[in-house]
């Protein structure tokens, strides 16, 4: 397994596409998590109400960096994590390289395992990048806006980091699964992003406001609302009706089940299917 993991790592580390996704994540976090708030606070504080100023100060302070990194960019970051899964698994079909790799020697299960290990490694690095970016941004904000330098506890940071990794690997696994099902990155993007932005972002929000209990409960079975719930319960993001009624444990469990199911089905597809 070590050899294939090294091979996959070499491919991933040198991939300009993954570096681009990493850069996009940083830009999204900077823009939505810090940039706009910092601009308002530093350039036109007189236009803000005291409540707004307090809220911005709280978000920009180092004490909130872990929550910012975990949840503030929300769905856009999760979409980028989905893209990472497609890039690592689906690109092989575009380049027709999967068959070439399968002919080299390792079993198909080993190939899948190696790709999954590297996917997890890349996802953890990207989450780390977000946390480092958020920490640096919050420290800069503290210096420029005269905010307190108090940092969150190591336990809070670790919990937020673990939650961010769980959400990221779930979405990345979703990308991997769709790539394997469709054998084409473009269709995986189309289906996955449509699901993320139409169903998770809009439809589930509407359904959660339904008067029928059974409909209101429906979103709690999907990864998006559970990701929101996990972020909300750890102090990040803006929350939702579903988030308010779903505990962290349940949310984490649902995400873990989705992640394992996606990887299990993906592995079965790769191992059993003809590669024509």
């Amino acid at each position: 397994m070590i050899g294939p993991v090294r091979g996959e790592w070499l491919k991933a580390w040198r991939s300009p596409y993954l570096w681009t996704v990493g850069l996009l994540m940083v830009l999204v976090l900077l823009a939505r998590g810090y940039g706009l708030d910092w601009f308002l606070m530093s350039q036109s504080p007189a236009t803000l109400s005291p409540a707004n100023i307090a809220s911005y100060k709280q978000a920009l302070a180092p004490a909130a960096f872990a929550q910012q990194a975990l949840g503030n960019p929300g769905g856009v970051i999760w979409a980028l994590e989905f893209v990472v899964g497609v890039l690592i698994f689906g690109s092989e079909y575009g380049w027709r390289t999967l068959a070439a790799m399968l002919m080299v020697g390792p079993s198909r299960a080993t190939v899948f395992g190696a790709k999954t290990v590297v996917l997890a490694g890349i996802v953890v690095l990207l989450v780390l990048l977000r946390f480092v970016t958020a920490l640096a941004s919050s420290l800069i904000s503290a210096v420029t806006l005269d905010l307190p330098f108090r940092l969150p506890s190591a336990g809070d940071v670790a919990t937020a980091f673990a939650a961010a990794c769980l959400i990221a690997i779930t979405y990345a696994s979703f990308g991997a699964l769709l790539s394997l099902i469709f054998r084409r990155a473009s269709i995986a993007y189309a289906v996955g992003l449509t699901y993320l932005f139409v169903f998770e972002d809009r439809a589930f929000g509407v359904i959660a406001k339904s008067s029928a209990q059974s409909l209101r409960d429906l979103p709690t079975g999907f990864p998006g609302p559970n990701s929101v719930a996990l972020v909300h319960n750890l102090g990040g993001g803006t929350g939702s009706a579903v988030a308010a009624s779903t505990g962290s444990g349940q949310a984490a469990l649902v995400l873990a089940v989705y992640c394992l199911a996606a990887l299990g089905v993906g592995c079965a597809i790769l191992v059993r299917r003809d590669e024509t």
């Binding site: 090294r6 040198r14 596409y17 399968l102 390792p106 080993t110 590669e275």
Partner: protein
């Protein structure tokens, strides 16, 4: 023949795709150790499907196969096989060298083998360049390098000269022939019969998924003896006496005698005794294309 002399052995290998298309039908293929075996056939005959089954990319519907002593797709067997099926496929953003490093990692092969393989296909000067910037010939050579990196017992090459310019074709042909003489077994698949004729020791003809003929290339191409001499009338009489009238035909002013090279000395003596001036006497050969057409048209 002892089974261990066979590097590829299939028994009634069959592949029927979903939708019912029968791509390969009860194929019994035997490739001997150390030979260059050419699998020839028209487009869509089932050549690539056969190769894909041999490396485990697709599973047969029925039948069995042993490749390098293992069932197709078994990791132990794949480690002994180097294969380029259809066009070589690599990562466009990586250099040629890094692409081979990926293959080396995947195969648990020491990285020094990368340099050796690059040298073997004469790609060392371009090893730093991005694969995406390679010419078709360089891509083909990198594909062969990736196949060679494992020092395989068996090389499987699918249309290795596809898309190459004449110079590239000559180089690829030379490379395959040198691999064949270096102890590798090569199973090469192509519809370019003129190329196969220059490379292979043995060949099999596949049509509609069935192996319809298999022979040593030299034997199959043998077309008797070609004789020219003066005066022609006396040549004919002498030849009829020694080989029989039915064995003689005239083509392009030469006598074609249906006889093998062992009989050449006897025919030569007969012509000399008859007082004929012999200007040419040599084995006549058909092209692989002629052999192929004879086999396939006979089947249609």
């Amino acid at each position: 023949m002892h089974t261990s002399d066979l590097v590829v052995e299939t028994a009634a290998l069959t592949k029927r795709y979903r939708g019912g298309k029968l791509a390969v039908d009860s194929l019994d293929l035997k490739v001997r150790r150390g030979e260059i075996y050419g699998l020839v056939g028209p487009n869509g005959a089932g050549k690539t499907t056969t190769l894909r089954m041999l490396v485990g990319l697709i599973r047969p519907t029925s039948g069995s196969a042993l490749v390098a002593g293992h069932r197709p797709g078994a990791p132990a067997g794949l480690r002994k096989i180097g294969a380029v099926i259809e066009n070589p496929a690599f990562y466009t953003y990586l250099s040629g060298r890094d692409n081979l490093r990926v293959v080396a990692h995947y195969g648990d092969i020491a990285e020094r083998a990368v340099e050796t393989a690059l040298e073997e296909v004469d790609l060392l000067p371009a090893a730093k360049g991005r694969y995406g910037s390679y010419s078709l010939g360089m891509k083909q050579r990198l594909g062969v390098a990736a196949a060679l990196i494992k020092e395989p017992e068996l090389l499987i090459l699918d249309e290795p000269t596809n898309g190459l310019d004449p110079q590239g074709m000559v180089e690829m042909r030379g490379l395959i022939k040198s691999l064949g003489t270096a102890g590798h077994t090569v199973l090469v698949c192509s519809h370019l019969l003129s190329e196969m004729q220059l490379i292979c020791h043995r060949f099999g003809v596949i049509q509609n998924g069935r192996l319809i003929a298999e022979d040593d290339l030299a034997d199959a191409r043998q077309a008797g003896l070609l004789i020219r001499g003066n005066p022609a009338g006396r040549v004919r009489v002498a030849l009829e006496r020694v080989a029989g009238a039915k064995a003689i035909a005239v083509r392009d002013g030469a006598f074609m005698v249906n006889a093998d090279h062992v009989q050449a000395a006897e025919i030569h003596r007969a012509l000399v005794r008859a007082g004929v001036e012999i200007t040419e006497l040599r084995p006549a050969e058909r092209s692989l294309e002629e052999v192929f057409l004879e086999i396939t048209e006979g089947r249609q």
